[in-house]
């Protein structure tokens, strides 16, 4: 079906899907922060599963269109500043979820999460 649509139009759709993916991820991140601060404030009205499903289908559509258009992801383009910011937010959310526990236990869990994260990153992305 995609072959019947003009390449220019497909590129427009691809670019727009990137925008909607960005919007979806911003919504998801804000929902996570809101839910971390006050459990139930978001999920009482809209479940995370719905947001995740929308983002997942958006991502799948971006992937399919990129294949169709022959667009390859540029690995060198990784925005380190954004990655570090997201990592910081993730760590804050993990720490926040453990706030009722003993502070040293929370810090220990946080350290374990960081170490596991580093090792997973190394296994997946580092060559050899």
């Amino acid at each position: 079906m995609l072959t019947k649509i003009k390449r220019e139009n497909l590129i427009i759709i691809y670019k727009l899907l990137n925008d909607t993916l960005f919007i979806g991820l911003v919504f998801f991140l804000l929902a996570l922060i809101g839910e971390g601060l006050l459990p139930g404030i978001i999920t009482f009205h809209i479940g995370f599963s719905k947001i995740i499903t929308v983002v997942f289908f958006n991502l799948a559509a971006v992937y399919l269109l990129a294949n169709q258009l022959g667009i390859k992801a540029d690995n060198d383009q990784t925005n380190k500043k954004t990655a570090y910011l997201l990592l910081f937010i993730v760590l804050l959310l993990v720490f926040n979820s453990l706030l009722k526990a003993n502070i040293f236990f929370s810090l220990f869990i946080l350290l374990v999460v960081v170490l596991i994260g580093i090792f997973i990153y190394k296994v997946i992305f580092e060559e050899n």
């Binding site: 220019e8 139009n9 590129i11 427009i12 691809y14 670019k15 727009l16 990137n18 925008d19 909607t20 960005f22 919007i23 919504f27 601060l37 006050l38 459990p39 404030i41 978001i42 009482f44 009205h45 809209i46 667009i71 540029d74 706030l99």
Partner: protein
């Protein structure tokens, strides 16, 4: 506007198209964000009850009853007889909408109206006979000394009998003759060889109560203190235990007591504990955290655990209400509210802070006429503005449906809405910050 995919280029015409669509997408996202903000800041609370599936866990309208106080089987209501139901909501809402969906076999409404009041479910209970002091309470009035025993006011014949039995005059609660009239008069206490029922003793730092000539031990000091004052118990030595048989059953906390075990809070009522489902329920029921007593495993073990106490549950037996207008006390017992003569009588039933209610709230009513829903065949609805209920104590709305037809209801749906106003927005923000603060408080 930024372009997330700069490297993927388009000719000028198509790029303009893209920019146009991109603006539309971001505008849509903005509208969606505003819409989400509105439904979060101005939430609508939905409550429902289905007579087609009365045992469904989705049913959250409470205490549905006909004029006889019974649950109307299959939603059948005879003409001219009212149907009453309660809706529990947290927070202040602007309007309440009630929809009644009739069964296919039902008569249509000819004329029907709906009345609403706001308070606590248990405070809507019919008023029973006034009650006086609790069994075991020692009171004095106009120079006479009494013990409330078997529900009756038993007067000590003279000071000598009182002192011989070991009662200390100083620990009798001073009260008026007017307050004592709610306990029927019993025979005088004149025998120094036996103690009247509900005499209380302290033996080796443990408390006992005499019931039907059998001594019952309190499970703990704090269980005893939830009902009686420390200094009221007559000090005895261990030899005294030979005088009366000792029951295997232990005495627990006073009905309506709030206890905590582990991380959970419970209500004690009729020999059972009701686990309170959340701090939101605890606070919205009007309870005070100061009344929560930490209990041990032994104390907890004497109770059978009942089903969860939620925001939809009525206050259990043993609850004391006090009106904010004239400090009138009520005791909840067997689905009735019984007025109590004074604060000291209330204190004899429960040492907890009473739950504050508004006497006035029983007289403030909202009313609306049911209209046929033009978009639904058998559905009728009406809306009641809730502004007049603002500031009243309680979280429950009692709705009374008056109709002149013999009806059969399938479903009752209620929705409580908040108007989108600056005042409500300020309130929502204040409440959210308070909740966040509460969430992080230790």
């Amino acid at each position: 506007m930024f372009d997330l995919t700069k490297k993927i280029e388009l000719d000028e015409k198509n790029y303009k198209h893209y920019r146009l669509f991109q603006t539309a997408v971001y505008l849509l996202a903005l509208f969606l964000a505003v819409y989400l903000f509105i439904i979060i800041a101005f939430p609508t609370q939905f409550l429902t009850f289905s007579f087609l599936n009365p045992n469904s866990t989705k049913n959250n309208l409470a205490n549905i009853r006909n004029s006889e106080g019974l649950f109307p089987e299959r939603g059948r209501i005879e003409g001219t007889k009212p149907l009453t139901f309660d809706a529990s909501v947290i927070g202040n809402y602007s309007t309440g909408r009630v929809s009644i969906i009739l069964s296919k076999k039902s008569e249509e409404f000819v004329s029907a109206s709906l009345n609403a009041r706001k308070s606590y479910q248990a405070f809507f209970y019919p008023e029973g006979e006034p009650v006086g002091f609790r069994d075991g309470t020692a009171v004095k009035s106009e120079g006479n000394y009494y013990l409330v025993s078997d529900g009756k006011l038993k007067k000590f014949r003279n000071d000598s009998i009182l002192e011989t039995l070991g009662f200390d005059k100083n620990y009798f609660i001073e009260t008026t003759a007017e307050d004592l009239k709610y306990n029927p008069k019993g025979e005088e206490i004149s025998d120094i060889s036996t103690y009247p029922n509900y005499s209380i003793f302290k033996i080796d730092n443990e408390y006992y109560i005499l019931k039907d000539d059998i001594l019952r031990k309190f499970v703990s000091s704090q269980a005893y203190l939830s009902s009686y004052a420390d200094n009221q118990a007559i000090e005895k030595t261990a030899d005294f235990l030979k005088k009366y048989p000792l029951s295997d059953d232990t005495e627990g906390f006073a009905d309506g007591s709030l206890v905590s075990y582990g991380d959970s809070a419970f209500l004690v009522s009729n020999g059972k504990t009701l686990p309170i489902d959340s701090s939101i329920t605890f606070e919205n029921m009007g309870y005070s955290w100061d009344d929560l007593r930490k209990i041990s495993g032994d104390e907890m073990a004497m109770y059978k655990k009942e089903k969860l106490f939620t925001i939809f549950s009525p206050h259990p037996d043993g609850t004391i209400f006090v009106t904010n207008e004239d400090q009138k006390y009520y005791l909840i017992k067997n689905n009735q509210k019984h007025s109590l003569p004074s604060s000291s009588a209330a204190l004899s039933w429960s040492k907890n802070n009473p739950v504050i209610v508004s006497e006035m709230s029983l007289g403030i009513e909202g009313k609306c006429q049911l209209k046929k829903n033009p978009f639904s065949f058998r559905s009728y609805y009406c809306e009641i503005p809730l502004e007049k209920f603002k500031g009243l104590y309680g979280k429950d709305f009692e709705f009374v449906l008056n109709s002149e037809s013999n009806i059969k209801i399938d479903t009752i749906d209620t929705s409580f809405k908040k108007s989108v106003t600056l005042e409500n927005l300020k309130l929502a923000i204040t409440e959210t910050f308070a909740k966040i603060k509460g969430n992080y408080a230790y």
